[in-house]
Every structure is written in C-alpha cells, then in structure tokens.
C-alpha cells in the first residue's frame, strides 16, 4: 500500500505524519517538516513514485507556511507537506530532484519574495522583471502596484 510505504519512509526521517481526513480536506497524509529537511522529503517522495502536484505559500502575517502536495499515478494517496518558514528566511530548492518545482519556486519568489538557495534561475516569472513588489503578501499596499 502506497500510504503505508510513505508513512514508513517519512517516519524514518523523523517527521510527524498524521492521517488526513480525506472527505473534508482531500488529503490522505499530512506531514509537518522543517525547511532544511525538505530536500530529503522530496527524495523520499520521488523514491516512492509520487509526483509534485502543487507547491505554494500562505502568508500568515508573522511567518509563511509553504505547502507541498504530492500524489501518485498508480494509487490514490495525496500527501500534504507543511513547512513553516520565518519571514526574511530562505528555503532550500528541490528543483534538482523535481525539475517541475523550478517554475513553482520562481512563482513563489515572484508573489511572496521568498528566496530559494541554489535555484538555477531564480528570477520573476509572472510579473515584469523590473517590478519591485510582491503582490500576495498580506501587507502589500495596492498603491505600490498602480500607476
């Protein structure tokens, strides 16, 4: 069972793995990880054959919450990995493990300003290159964007 394999693999990395309430949230497993552990988590997920479904960040005013979703083509098992990150802190990249994460990380950098260490090409993705604001931050003043 993929769910058991994943639970074992993630527990061996000293992470707390909880069962998700699928009917309410859509997850089967919920994991909390620290930023430095993320490359190992990604390697474990790739080893189990999962693909990176989505990656985004949520601005919680005093800190960020980075959310990775993983799923599998073979068996239904969605894993959500929550990584708390302080403001003004950086995050290691996982684009050397999942090349698809390259654009997701660029988008998070563009919209939130979170820096990813060792990213091959960390520049803005959606906004113009010379933009000087990060629009999805909760304290983004609208007047900064309008002409």
């Amino acid at each position: 069972m993929l769910k058991d394999n994943l639970q074992q693999a993630l527990a061996s990395l000293n992470l707390e793995v909880a069962e998700g309430d699928y009917a309410k949230t859509g997850y089967h497993l919920e994991v909390a990880a620290q930023p430095a552990q993320m490359p190992e988590v990604a390697q474990a997920m790739l080893g189990a054959g999962c693909f990176l479904e989505s990656f985004t960040a949520v601005d919680l005013n005093e800190s960020f919450d980075l959310v990775y979703h993983f799923a599998s083509f073979e068996e239904l098992c969605r894993t959500a990995v929550h990584v708390p990150l302080g403001k003004k802190k950086g995050m290691p990249t996982i684009s050397h493990i999942y090349p698809g994460a390259d654009w997701y990380e660029r988008e998070v950098f563009d919209l939130f300003g979170i820096h990813f260490f060792d990213h091959p090409n960390l520049k803005r993705l959606l906004l113009p290159e010379d933009a000087d604001f990060h629009p999805l931050l909760k304290d983004f003043g609208a007047s900064q964007g309008n002409d």
Binding site: L127, P128, F133, P135, F140, A142, Q144, G145, N146
Partner: protein, 166 residues
C-alpha cells in the same frame, strides 16, 4: 472624423470617397487575441458567423500587413509595451477595435487594489470602436466592424448613397 494621421493635406474629392469605401470593405485584422475574447473572434471568423462576407476575413499575423487591430482580451502591464509597439508598426491608415470589457475598461479584473492590468486599451492606444461583452457574441463583433465601416466611409451600409443621420 479623425484618423491617427489627422486631417489630410490634399483633398481628393470623389476619389477619397472611393478609397474610403475600399478601405472599409477590405479591413485586414491582425491576429491579436490576448485572452478569452480571442475565441469569440475566431468564432466570428469561422463558418457560422463568417467575417469574410464583410471583407474582413483575412487575418494577418504580421502588423505590417494589416490595418485593423482588434484588441481582444485583457492587457496586462507586462504586455502593454508590446501592444503599443505593435500599434506603431501598423502602417496608416489604421483603426483599433477594443473588443470585450477588459479592453474597454479592465473588465472584471479592475478593482481598486489591482496591480496586474491596464484598465482599458484606450489608455495606451487610440481606440475607434468599443465592443462590449464578456465575451461579446460574434454577432456583436460583426456589429462593431460594421460600425467601423460606417465611421470610415461616413455613410450607412445599407443606405448606400445617402448620409447617415447621427
């Protein structure tokens, strides 16, 4: 009526009317679909709502070969310089139709704290005809093109040799 080039230096009389008639009946639009309205523009050019019967069916991708720019879709701030450059690359006489609510005034994407779009094509290029809708039906776009033809010739389409009462 003013085109971008302003009043002509030399008035050619009846020849000018013939030229205007020719220009109005053979508008060559540029394929400039930015977002959802592009699909309705394509549908207007397809078999059911045929734009070709009005002479406007030859969509050219290169701005140097067309005289009508149909701005179909939202203009984002990143895209705005490209729109202006394309407009400047078109040879005169040229006209612009702002198709869809986004091109007229930002559409559903304009709200007071927005950062991403230019709320209206007429902020960056001169617009001749506004075609409202989200997206406008192909018939609406055809109405817009017929209105542009009336603007170019100064006469109504069906009442051929009589002036339009406005």
């Amino acid at each position: 009526m003013e085109t971008k080039t302003g009043e002509p230096l030399i008035h050619l009389g009846v020849l000018e009317e013939a030229l205007n008639l020719a220009r109005a009946n053979s508008l060559w639009p540029m394929t400039f679909g930015l977002a959802c309205c592009a699909i309705e523009m394509m549908a207007a050019g397809a078999a059911r709502f045929d734009l070709d019967r009005f002479g406007a069916g030859v969509f050219r991708p290169s701005p140097r070969q067309c005289d009508l720019m149909i701005v179909a879709g939202t203009i984002s701030k990143k895209m705005a310089p490209a729109v202006v450059r394309l407009y400047e690359q078109m040879p005169a006489p040229k006209w612009v139709i702002a198709m869809g609510n986004c091109a007229i005034s930002g559409g559903p994407f304009y709200y007071p704290t927005q950062y991403a779009i230019v709320p209206g094509a007429d902020l960056i290029i001169p617009v001749d005809v506004y075609v409202p809708g989200c997206p406008p039906r192909p018939e609406t776009l055809i109405e817009g093109i017929l209105l542009l033809e009336e603007k170019i010739t100064g006469r109504g389409r069906l009442r051929k040799f009589r002036d339009v009462k406005r």
